[in-house]
Amino acid sequence: MTLVVRVGTAVSTTLLAIGIVLALAAPRTRATEALITAGLVILMATPVANLLVALVDETAAREWAFVATGVLVLALLGGSLVVAFS
C-alpha cells in the first residue's frame, strides 16, 4: 500500500513541480498545462489505487466481508465518475 502511494506521490509531485516552474518561467503553453493536469490526475488516482491494493490484500486473506465493502466503495466512486462526466 505504501509503495503505491509513494510512487503516485513522487510522480505527481515531480510533474507538478516541473509544470509550475515552466508555467512561471515561460508563457503558458498547452504542453505545460497538460503536464500539470497529468500530475493532478495521478494525484487523484492515488487513493483509488490504494483502495485497489487493499482489495487485493483482503482477497488474498479471504476476508470476503471486507472485499465486498471495498467493492462497494469502488462502485460508489464509479458513481461519482458518472456524475462528473454526465
Partner: protein
C-alpha cells in the same frame, strides 16, 4: 492580485503548507482553512476554490498514508466508514439543492463548536486499553504507544454513530470543499473508542477517498485551475514534511487540545461566513 502570478501562487502554496502541516498531526485535509483563504483573501471564485481545496485534501491524505504514522492507520475501519462517506458525498448534490450555503455553514459551525466542547471535556479519558491481551475485535487495533512505552489495544464502539457521522462528513465534503476529517477525528476519538493518533491517521486515510469523488466531479466540470491546484499541492508536500518532523513527540493530550482549538477556529470561521 493577478491570478496565476508569482505572488498569488506563492500565497496559495502557503495555504497548502498550512493544510499539510495540520494534516500531518490532526488527520484533516486543511480544506476548512484553505477555502475561506482562497475565496476571501485571494478572491478566487468559489467553485475553483472548492476544486483546489479537494485536491489539497487528497495531497494531505497521501502524505500521511505514506508517512511516519501510517502504521496507525486502521484500514479496515477506514474501509467500512468510507462506504458511508462516499455515499454521503454522492448525496451531497441533493443536499446542495435543498439547503442554502448559509444554512450549511451555520449547521457546520454549531457542530464543530459542540464537538470542540465535547473534546475538551474528554481530554483525559483514555481510549487505549493497557492490557495487550484484550481482543481488539474485528475493527479495533493495536499499536505501540510512546507515552506508556508499551503495546496497547483499542476497540471500536458505537459503529452506527461513526457511520452516520461519516455520511454527514461526506455530505459536507463536496459542498464545502473539505475532507471531513475535522468531524471524523473528534467523532472517532470522543465517541467511538479510537485513541487520537490512530483516529487522525485513519481519518487521513479516509479523506483521500472522500475528496477524490468530489475532486473528480469538479474536474469534470472544468473548475480545477491547474497552476493554482499545483501550487496548493506542492505547498502540502512541504507543509506535511515539516509537520512530521516537528510534531514527532507531541503527546496525545496536546493533540486533542490542538484539535479542539482548531475546531473552535473553524466554527468561528463558519459563523463569519454566514454574516
Amino acid at each position: 492580485m493577478p491570478a496565476e502570478g508569482v505572488a498569488f501562487l506563492a500565497a496559495v502554496m502557503g495555504g497548502g503548507a498550512l493544510a499539510g502541516g495540520l494534516g500531518a498531526l490532526l488527520g484533516i485535509g486543511g480544506g476548512v482553512f484553505l477555502v475561506p483563504f482562497l475565496t476571501l483573501a485571494l478572491g478566487v471564485p468559489i467553485r475553483q476554490a472548492l476544486a483546489a481545496s479537494l485536491v489539497t485534501v487528497i495531497a494531505a491524505s497521501t502524505a500521511v498514508t505514506s508517512g511516519p504514522s501510517r502504521h496507525l492507520i486502521n484500514e479496515r475501519l477506514g474501509l467500512v466508514l468510507e462506504v458511508a462517506t462516499v455515499a454521503g458525498s454522492l448525496v451531497g448534490a441533493v443536499t446542495a439543492a435543498a439547503l442554502s450555503p448559509s444554512t450549511l455553514h451555520v449547521i457546520f459551525a454549531f457542530c464543530t463548536f459542540f464537538i470542540a466542547v465535547v473534546m475538551m471535556m474528554r481530554l483525559d479519558i483514555r481510549n487505549v486499553i493497557l492490557d495487550p491481551s484484550v481482543d481488539p475485535g474485528i475493527l479495533g487495533g493495536r499499536f505501540y504507544e510512546e507515552e506508556t512505552a508499551r503495546e496497547v489495544v483499542y476497540r471500536v464502539k458505537r459503529l452506527p454513530l461513526a457511520l452516520v457521522g461519516s455520511f454527514a462528513a461526506g455530505n459536507l465534503s463536496t459542498l464545502l470543499g473539505i475532507g471531513g476529517g475535522i468531524m471524523k477525528v473528534p467523532l472517532l476519538n470522543a465517541f467511538c473508542g479510537v485513541p487520537i493518533r490512530p483516529a487522525a491517521a485513519t481519518s487521513s486515510f479516509m479523506i483521500g477517498v472522500t475528496a477524490t469523488s468530489g475532486a473528480v466531479i469538479y474536474y469534470g466540470r472544468g473548475d480545477l485551475m491547474p497552476a493554482m491546484a499545483a501550487a496548493a499541492v506542492l505547498g502540502v508536500r512541504i507543509g506535511s514534511l515539516a509537520g512530521f518532523r516537528y510534531t514527532a513527540g507531541v503527546g496525545a493530550r496536546r493533540i486533542k487540545q490542538l484539535m479542539a482549538a482548531v475546531l473552535v477556529v473553524v466554527s468561528a470561521l463558519m459563523f463569519t461566513r454566514v454574516w
